[in-house]
Subunit: 309 residues, 4 copies
């Protein structure tokens, strides 16, 4: 059986599981642009390493706010070449056991964040990318455009402005790290890039395609190497252990493949060597992960048996 | 190439990496029986799902104290049948972001431990196993004897007495959980079983064989089912995200397969569907994991490419 | 105007303030003996350094459970002679900023409690008193009997047994300190003395009389010295900064004299050089202090102007 | 014996105690202007409510950086009139049990600081004073000038600029509170006023005179009321329980009168109804309080017996 027979059946099984839950959860409401998203939207796309794209849900081509999913891509960008080794002196790679925007662990651990998938760690990565390239959000946008083949992917400026307006918690995190000497660029500049990164919008199909380098052991769409095989594995390890806020253990247990979620309701998942999966539903559970996207991924690994365990 | 050609080469590559590090790290010294172990000992065994056993190191058949590695086996025992569902109301399955014997997270989270791989979580599991069977340490010993085929595996009573004498931290954890109503049997009885479980001794070969049900998707040595396929996956997910104290992220990143370590210096690792690996070296790093066993496992996944990522 | 004219007017003013609040608050309910106390009871007594006793409220001679108020007396007993110097190596004298039975600060601060007015600090004091005298509860009872002139003051054994039955949190605290080497006697023995100390019952009149040595700069009822002038001042400083759980700042602000409260609903207060005040009402506020006793003390310092500030 | 005979003897006794310790401790070194202060400087002044001024030490008229001592004065300014009631909804008045610039308690307690004597609490007070008056630092300067009779007291601009440059921790605290909605003015403006307040310089004689309203039950130098008697008492209660960072218990125990210290090495103390004392020595102990100023105050209360206890 080839993929073009196989995946449509998987998609049906996923929709079967998800359908009755569409609309569940609570849409993020800290900024109006997210609060206004229709809670009934849902999209789901599988992109295979050999070029297949299989989608279901009415909104697989509707764009949503990437938010924390960008953390995987900016991490990949700072790990290119030898830069990667440096960033690990500034951020650990252990699960945090705390909410994504918690300060107290950061305080006890002298301004070195637990991992690059929580906000303070991602701020370190953005700061590093800014030092490495001079334009963090620009580099991210370039990568996303090149991998998807869509030159039009961009920051939603209204979202970015709202993020900035409601961003005092992230400012507190950044200044706390700065007080420990762990931020190198001016804090307002780092935050500006961070907020604009988070506000890039993509569809499920675009997101699945953009992340394929993680399933291809580090190879980009054009065949060139973005990351070495072992660095790619390491990013997947960080995703699995830290990628879904304080529910990483639960996702490993229920879904069993590396995932990264965002409060926009999207989740990117990777089956190493095989495919990526992007799911989107705006309603979030108590830990900030999309209810329907999580259910869809759980159904996906149940049906395909592709848990890494 | 069949396994009998393949694994000897793997063992050579592992020893190549480890040899110059033997004796590194700091032997656990909180009880005399552990402090007196020769820091230069090292053993390494691979047990394959089709019955192969490949060992290296001079002490692959020397017994050592299982300590926290027992946490995987007692968890498996309480997950048999329907009992499993109940235990997850009493212990979460998230990484802790803290040391294995930390109290403060337990206090903030109302006596419900973060996961069954840290001490308080394992005390819950022992308490549950005691309620389920009436003899927690007996059930564990029975499982280990049956899976290894060695009826002689047993608790080292001197170690168990020393554990009890130095066990005030574990008493504090247990009474704290009891104060939240999350311990059902008398605390001294739970601790007695817990200390005797931790004090069971095994060799690398025995440990690798005992853990094979995890590589066999839940099937025991005699072919019967100990755990369902999905429950087996879930234990492996808990091991990967929580099995090596506050270094789970580091192990996922460097080793990339589910592991469970103990302060006796042993580590059990699982390659799902294929084999288990047991490594032992008494010298520990700052986070309580064996230096040489960790290096050996890292070399093993490098050589075999069997990271789950 | 002499005291016999003055204090009756003070008592009237106090009752005026308190009357409409009698019955407010929530009676401690963690053990049946406390839960069963009539919430409408109230007593208030002033004992002056020159022998006067002025009481109001219907229950000024009704006995209630001393609970944490005993912490002041056991501290005084370990500070007699040169023993005092030693205890300050085992317990600090800073406010805790946490609930009376919190563990996490104790964990971060290596088993040395913040002050002797919270449970772990009082356990240290009991342990020290046990080492110093061989009978901690006996020494406390002896002091109370001698100061009040009533040889009959004693532990309520039903309360002590209930305290022990519900005492797992205190066991956790004691074993945590023991794990840091900061408990010298067997933990069960220390707890037994601690629970029996807390369960001694006194009336307001007895309590006010028993505490007079604190108002007399360390002199006992028979004129002998229990504490030096400076050690007496130090106990009063500890009471003011730490004596009312996590409301010490609020008490200093509202009442303005050194106080020690207990969950039995009693509060002992001291006006240095002048008098002691004992107030009792079983209904507690959210921080564990008696609602009516606190109001009575606030009225007392308002009327008399005897705030230390 | 009148004051003009009495206080010179007190000063001699104080110098006797302090002399051999001059130069001890560690000068604050987070900004160059403080790091460059001569560690051997020392000044000590007593200002009595009836106009006396008694000084010792070679530097009683040398100006130093007020730093956190300003927290008492800004608190008094927001408590004038009815404004005071409002500020207590935004800041508690309990000891913190933590360092002066700690974030984690602030995080757990939803952005409401423990008390106005630690940095986050003082930022709230500055924010309130800014809302009340439009010019927080101007109001403070005006009060200090009027109470001392010296129109020239002012901010050291070099210090203020250095404070701002090294002020990331305070920025983190302010933005964290802003994220909970507990800062009303723009954070940069609040910080600007805060840094300029802290950078005002005074001598011991000026500081003692400026604080006399606290010893005069709220009356200013010109006889008008700054604070009511009860609000004055309340500020003294807050000073005693919270005024010396995480050493408030120690100061209450050793010194026994309300004190407020600053990292510039100054301490202001108040004997209610009688006098104020200002001491200055730049060398700090591990908790951030001046070694010689603390010793001088301890000697002062020993000699005069004016502990509040």
């Amino acid at each position: 059986m080839d993929d073009s027979d196989y995946y449509p059946g998987v998609l049906d099984a996923v929709m079967e599981q998800v359908r009755s839950h569409i609309g569940e959860g609570r849409v993020a409401d800290y900024i109006p642009e997210l609060a206004d998203v229709d809670p009934d939207e849902f999209g789901f796309s599988i992109a295979t390493v050999d070029g297949g794209m299989y989608s279901t849900g009415d909104q697989a081509r509707t764009r949503f706010s990437m938010q924390s999913i960008t953390k995987v891509f900016t991490l990949a960008l700072v790990m290119r070449g030898h830069a990667g080794s440096d960033v690990w002196k500034r951020v650990h790679r252990e699960p945090s056991g705390n909410a994504f925007n918690s300060l107290h662990q950061l305080e006890f651990e002298n301004g070195v964040p637990r991992n690059p998938m929580i906000n303070p760690g991602a701020l370190i990565v953005t700061d590093q990318l800014l030092s490495d390239t001079g334009d963090a959000v620009g580099e991210l946008r370039k990568l996303l455009c090149e991998e998807t083949g869509d030159p039009d992917l961009h920051t939603d400026n209204l979202v970015a402005e709202s993020e900035s307006r409601s961003g005092d918690r992230n400012r507190a995190l950044a200044y706390l790290m700065a007080s420990f000497g762990n931020i190198r660029n001016p804090v307002p500049e780092v935050l500006d890039h961070y907020f604009r990164q988070c506000s890039i919008t993509v569809s499920c199909e675009e997101l699945a395609r953009a992340g394929l380098f993680l399933a291809r052991r580090g190879r980009r769409a054009d065949g060139s190497e973005l990351l070495s095989v072992s660095d790619t594995r390491r990013i997947l390890a960080v995703m699995l252990t830290c990628g879904t806020y304080d529910a990483a253990g639960e996702f490993a247990y229920r879904v069993g493949i590396p995932c990264k979620s965002g409060v926009g309701g999207g989740i990117l998942a990777v089956v190493p060597g095989r495919c990526t999966v992007a799911a989107w539903g705006p309603g979030l559970d108590a830990k900030g992960n999309s209810v329907t996207a999580a259910l869809a991924l759980e159904a996906f690994t149940d049906v395909t048996g592709c848990s890494v365990f």
